[in-house]
């Protein structure tokens, strides 16, 4: 474990439903294991056959977690997600935690190749579903989740190679989340964002070229194992941060304050010179 064993979480996740979109790999899977270890019933979605279900079940067994229920569902198709939510409701659960880790990557490639279609696709897959599924959850279970969390990055505050569309989707996700926070809070439902960077997942490898990733891993004090982000997700859902909603929690090990030419530049030059 990465945190103090002395800490008794305020919330009990035993026999509670946790719904994770994009929950079979990366941050979503790491969070799933954490909640499963605490006794939660996990409902995980993935698409494109990206999940090795037998391996997922094996890892759940190893931590003594209840067997998760895994669905193949395209995050952008309402009907497929409604099936999952209806199943959760039919199983007698309200959704305690809703975590959306889905992000469909379309690489940007400069103004000449900028595409409205790519921008729209990014919004359809990586922005709207976080809010759209919240509406579906309310519609099919009668209540909003106790905690809703989405993952963003600092790509919209800076520039990363090829990140045009993902950055755009994250910017809108952060902005729109705040707009609903107060009304959700009045229904005892909290919604927050974790903004991170350099989490070394398969998705990270899909968006950034190997040469870019090599630069990042040269500064490994700023990279994350998905489990570290999962711990933050658990913290937000622990009951200790229930006065927080509509916020962007920045989890970057301090990278954003030093990642500029003057502060980190000398280290980069040193790296380039071998």
């Amino acid at each position: 474990m990465h945190y103090s064993r002395n800490l008794q979480l305020k919330n009990n996740f035993n026999d509670k439903a946790v719904f994770i979109v994009g929950g079979t790999r990366g941050i979503g899977f790491a969070a799933a294991l954490e909640f499963g270890r605490l006794g939660a019933q996990l409902y995980l979605t993935h698409r494109w056959g990206s999940a090795d279900e037998s391996e997922i079940l094996k890892q759940f067994r190893e931590v003594g977690a209840p067997e998760p229920i895994i669905f193949e569902a395209d995050v952008s198709i309402e009907a497929e997600n409604a099936t999952v939510i209806k199943k959760i409701h039919a199983d007698g659960f309200e959704i305690e935690v809703y975590l959306n880790c889905a992000c469909v990557v379309t690489r940007g490639n400069g103004l000449e190749k900028a595409s409205l279609r790519a921008l729209r696709r990014s919004m359809n897959y990586s922005t709207w579903p976080f809010i759209g599924l919240l509406k579906l959850i309310k519609k099919h279970t009668g209540t909003f989740p106790g905690y809703s969390i989405a993952i963003t990055s600092d790509g919209h505050l800076s520039h990363y190679p090829g990140y045009d569309y993902v950055a755009s989707s994250k910017a809108v996700l952060e902005a729109i989340t705040r707009q609903y926070a107060r009304s959700l809070y009045k229904e005892n439902s909290r919604i927050n964002i974790i903004r991170t960077r350099s989490v070394l997942t398969d998705g990270y490898a899909e968006i950034f070229a190997e040469s870019d990733r090599n630069i990042v891993t040269a500064f490994d004090q700023f990279t994350f194992d998905p489990k570290e982000i999962a711990n933050c997700i658990l913290a937000i859902c622990s009951g200790y941060l229930d006065a927080m909603s509509g916020e962007v929690v920045v989890v970057d090990k301090g990278a954003s304050i030093v990642d500029n030419i003057m502060t980190l530049g000398p280290d980069i030059l040193e790296h380039d010179n071998g």
């Binding site: 990465h2 945190y3 103090s4 002395n6 800490l7 305020k10 705040r178 926070a181 107060r182 009304s183 959700l184 809070y185 009045k186 909290r190 919604i191 991170t196 004090q221 994350f224 570290e228 982000i229 711990n231 933050c232 658990l234 913290a235 622990s238 009951g239 200790y240 941060l241 229930d242 006065a243 927080m244 909603s245 509509g246 916020e247 929690v249 920045v250 989890v251 970057d252 090990k253 301090g254 304050i257 030093v258 502060t263």
Partner: protein, 222 residues
Amino acid sequence: MAKRVVILNGDNELGHVIAKQFSPDHSEVVIATENQAEVHDPDTNIKIEHVTYNEDFNQDLAFAQEEINSLIAITEISDQKANENNLAEQVWPWIFVLKYLFRRKIPLPRYVVIVLAGYDPGLASLQAVQAKYITASNLDIDIHINLVNADFYHPGNNSLNYKLSGNFRPGVVTSAEQISDAVTILCSGLMDGMKAQSVYLRMGLTAPETDIAIDGGPTLVD
């Protein structure tokens, strides 16, 4: 290893709530205050110690003679006077303690939490900048300096009255217990990926002026 907590400017309701929450899992909890003589209730591990924050790094600062696991600095914003003395009374103390430890080659605390209890965006920015720059110069060590911003803290809502002329309803004020919870989770190890960042306890609101303007005063103010 014995884990010690020091709460600066902690001889107030909020400081005592935090002290009680940390007490069971720590060997010693020190409430440091400039206001009164030392008190040690032998029935608890909570001590109150007098401290003076100045430039005298040769002074005998009792609570800083050995390693501190968590350093919590409370900024209670309540009136005009607090604003006038921000630098000396609110910002300097936690920097002073870190510098004091550093000079004695005592390892810096793993957690530093600066609590802003009440509404003062200028002071919040000042604290955040200090947190960033001290973090940046200590990135190679295991120190996590973060802030808890509780604009709507109840006793501190004097600052809201002062600035915004309204008595905030219980539903939109942050309690000492909620703030203490946030401090606890920041020092738990679960949020160790956070460095020089702020946790805002605003219950879905954004900032007092904005919410009064948008949400309409009657929603927030009696």
